[in-house]
């Protein structure tokens, strides 16, 4: 029995002291795929052992917050970039500006500016983009040319004309575009195309009453009121891929993961009938959202150098290409796109172009909630419960309520700063 006890002890004994145990959390399919990339890293750095843990996406957010609260965050982890402001606000993330500046293998200028920006909060870098996710147009080439157009739209005006032509062609039973009403991303992407920020005064108040957002919302709602888009959620559609193949809709605003899905699920004879295109903007090719995931280092990590090495390794162009091959995630570095299978992929080309114009959303912890309210209010406007005017006012009211705590914190910080200054002044002889 004593022998068994000793055996148990030796089983959980720490590794040799010269070896570093690096804890790494990654989510969903990314977590599975990255496990195939880690052996090479460990071969190059024999002193580091990576302990990978895979989290399901649905549980990831609360798992990270509980880990933060109990001081159990891993050294390195994947973070959806809309969650980054939250964890940065909690002071859970290490600052990476210095590491990036001194790095040989990653250069700041190599990243698409919009996607790198999502990791910068008040001028400080908290994460390095791992992959990018942006929304653009998937469209049916054959149906579009049947309606009399040979190239995809570049402006909202052209897009609306094409939708009208398609709708006239397909009739009442089918539609021109699918904008699922349970997703905020399509409207958000259109809203980001405007110059005006969505929040004003350092994100203290909503700015949805601006003329530009009104214009965006009117454009969005018009697609529904003219019956170009069905008032449907994507769970109601059941199977967007089959419906796209059947021509139930000809335009679909979606993300990079659907390239592989359409290639896999559409019948062979339709494979040449669809294409991707950058998102049309108010006056010419427009911006879109910069989503995706970043790699971050916990501020409490005892091995920040080793953690940074892992991030550098996963950011190497060859490794990013391999990762793209495994999960279809779009690399955030221009050099990862150059001279690779990605550069030749006709469906990815539009994404390459769109990424140059990807724009970050407001970087505050409350943003996802505000975006959800934006979707809910827009859904009411789509159903005719709100006019555009009522919708933008309502949205500003809800946003200002959500931001109440943030205003209180900012005001208090400002007040503390001034009293500290006054205090210093009176102390001076």
């Amino acid at each position: 029995m004593i022998a068994a006890f000793l055996l148990m002890l030796s089983g959980c004994a720490p590794p040799p002291s010269d070896q570093i145990e690096l804890k790494f959390w990654a989510m969903g399919r990314e977590g599975e795929a990255v496990s195939l990339l880690l052996p090479e890293f460990e071969r190059r750095h024999p002193e580091i052992r990576v302990q990978l843990q895979q989290l399901p996406w649905t549980a990831a957010h609360s798992k990270l917050l509980t880990a933060y609260a109990s001081d159990a965050l891993p050294d390195v982890f994947q973070l959806g970039n809309t969650w980054l402001p939250e964890l940065a606000e909690l002071d859970a993330l290490a600052v990476l500006d210095g590491a990036l500046l001194n790095s040989h293998s990653v250069q700041r200028a190599d990243y698409f500016p919009g996607i790198l920006d999502t990791n910068v909060i008040d001028g400080t870098l908290y994460g390095l983009p791992w992959y990018v996710d942006t929304r653009l147009l998937f469209y049916r080439r054959d149906l579009l040319s049947q309606a009399g157009y040979n190239s995809p739209p570049e402006t909202w005006g052209e897009w609306m004309q094409m939708q009208a032509a398609i709708k006239a062609m397909v009739g009442n039973e089918r539609y021109a575009v699918l904008l699922p009403v349970n997703e905020f991303e399509p409207l958000l992407a259109l809203a980001l195309q405007q110059e005006m920020p969505l929040l004003r005064e350092h994100a203290r108040y909503g700015n949805f009453r601006s003329a530009e957002f009104r214009r965006t919302l009117s454009f969005y709602v018009e697609m529904f009121t003219r019956d170009f888009a069905p008032k449907m959620t994507n769970t109601q559609i059941s199977n967007v891929w089959t419906e796209f193949g059947r021509g139930y809709f000809s335009f679909y605003v979606s993300g990079p993961w659907n390239i592989a899905e359409f290639q896999k699920r559409l019948p062979l004879e339709l494979q040449s009938a669809w294409m991707t295109a950058p998102l049309p903007g108010p006056n010419g090719p427009g911006a879109s959202n910069a989503g995706g995931s970043s790699l971050v280092v916990s501020r409490k990590s005892v091995h920040p150098e080793a953690a940074w090495k892992l991030i550098e390794y996963l950011s190497e162009p060859t490794v990013q290409r391999e990762f793209h091959g495994l999960v279809g995630a779009m690399p955030p570095r221009r050099s990862s796109w150059a001279q690779s299978a990605l550069a030749d992929d006709v469906y990815a080309r539009a994404f390459r172009e769109q990424l140059e114009r990807a724009k970050p959303t407001p970087r505050i912890p409350e943003w996802e909630r505000i975006a959800t309210e934006m979707r809910l209010v827009a859904e009411r406007a789509v159903h005719g419960d709100f006019s555009i005017e009522q919708a933008v006012v309502e949205l500003d009211v809800r946003t200002d309520q959500i931001l109440e705590k943030r205003r209180w914190l900012l005001d208090r910080e400002a007040a503390e700063a001034t009293t500290a200054q006054l205090h210093n002044r009176t102390q001076r002889p």
Partner: protein, 292 residues
């Protein structure tokens, strides 16, 4: 050791468990509901404000809360009677002397209770699909135009009720069946000899004898239906136009999606008070009708 002390000793483990896992957390969340505890407060307790009844006042002024409350009451007021009526009918049919293959039907009718709500929801979403769903196909053959079951704000809640009733009625059916089987057969025999019709037997023998069981079933169903969450969560995500948003769903979103634990605790307490008072009302009603 005297008897009362021994009694306390015996219940002590249970009391400790209740105190640690129920009373303490409930007290803590009551305190939490008086603060604005949220993500910001997680990192620094100085960022937490004591708001007194502020959360409750805000909640009562929030249109979404009233909508969620209305939806929940709609679900309870329609769902509970329908659910019990269906359970009772099924139990009466199974208990009837004319019934054949009773074990098979009993199992078949109970089956929805033991299925996973998520898996079943996938099938129901297909059944209620506007264009391809079996329900609309059947309606079409009798000339009824297709109904947008899950996409029309007026139809979504009835669909959820239908789903919940189908999913849950088997459980009450089994309890009611046990109640029915406990009614002495000679009562019915005597009634038949006195010339009571089938309806009279049901009205004057079956239902009064079943009253305690019905009471218990009602209380369980009522408190269960007030906690509507899983059905809209998997079928509609609270939509369309938040027409299937329930109070518990609101609490889930506030608390676990947006991490506003203070506000979410206030929702939880209001729901608790609502359930407590309606259960009390039901118990009183039951007592009075039994006294009659």
């Amino acid at each position: 050791m005297n008897a009362s002390r021994a009694g306390w000793l015996f219940v002590a483990p249970a009391l400790v468990v209740i105190a640690v896992f129920f009373l303490l957390p409930a007290m803590a969340s009551l305190l939490l509901s008086l603060t604005d505890f949220d993500l910001y407060a997680l990192s620094d307790s100085r960022r937490m404000r004591w708001v007194g009844l502020g959360n409750y006042i805000d909640l009562l002024q929030r249109p979404l809360f009233w909508q969620a409350l209305g939806n929940t009451l709609y679900f309870v007021v329609v769902g509970v009677p329908v659910s019990i009526a269906v359970s009772l009918t099924a139990a009466l049919l199974l208990n009837s002397t004319a019934a054949r293959f009773t074990p098979f039907f009993r199992t078949a009718l109970f089956a929805p209770v033991v299925t996973t709500v998520v898996a079943v929801a996938v099938i129901w979403r297909y059944l209620f699909h506007t264009r391809y769903g079996l329900i609309n196909v059947v309606l079409d053959t009798v000339g009824i135009a297709p109904i947008d079951w899950l996409g029309d704000p007026n139809w979504a809640m009835p669909t959820i009720i239908l789903f919940a009733v189908w999913k849950n009625f088997g459980y009450n059916m089994i309890i009611l069946l046990a109640g029915l089987q406990a009614i002495p057969v000679d009562l019915f025999e005597a009634a038949r000899i006195d010339g009571a019709s089938r309806w009279q037997q049901l009205r004057y023998i079956t239902l009064p004898s079943l009253l305690p069981t019905l009471m218990m079933v009602s209380i369980l169903t009522l408190s269960g239906y007030f906690q509507l969450f899983a059905e809209p969560y998997v079928m509609t995500e609270g939509g369309p136009l938040q027409s299937t948003m329930s109070v518990l769903y609101l609490m889930f979103e506030d608390g676990f999606k947006w991490w506003n634990l203070g506000a979410a605790s206030a929702v939880a307490f209001l729901l608790f008070l609502l359930m407590l008072s309606s259960t009390f009302a039901l118990v009183r009603l039951g007592r009075r009708s039994q006294a009659l």
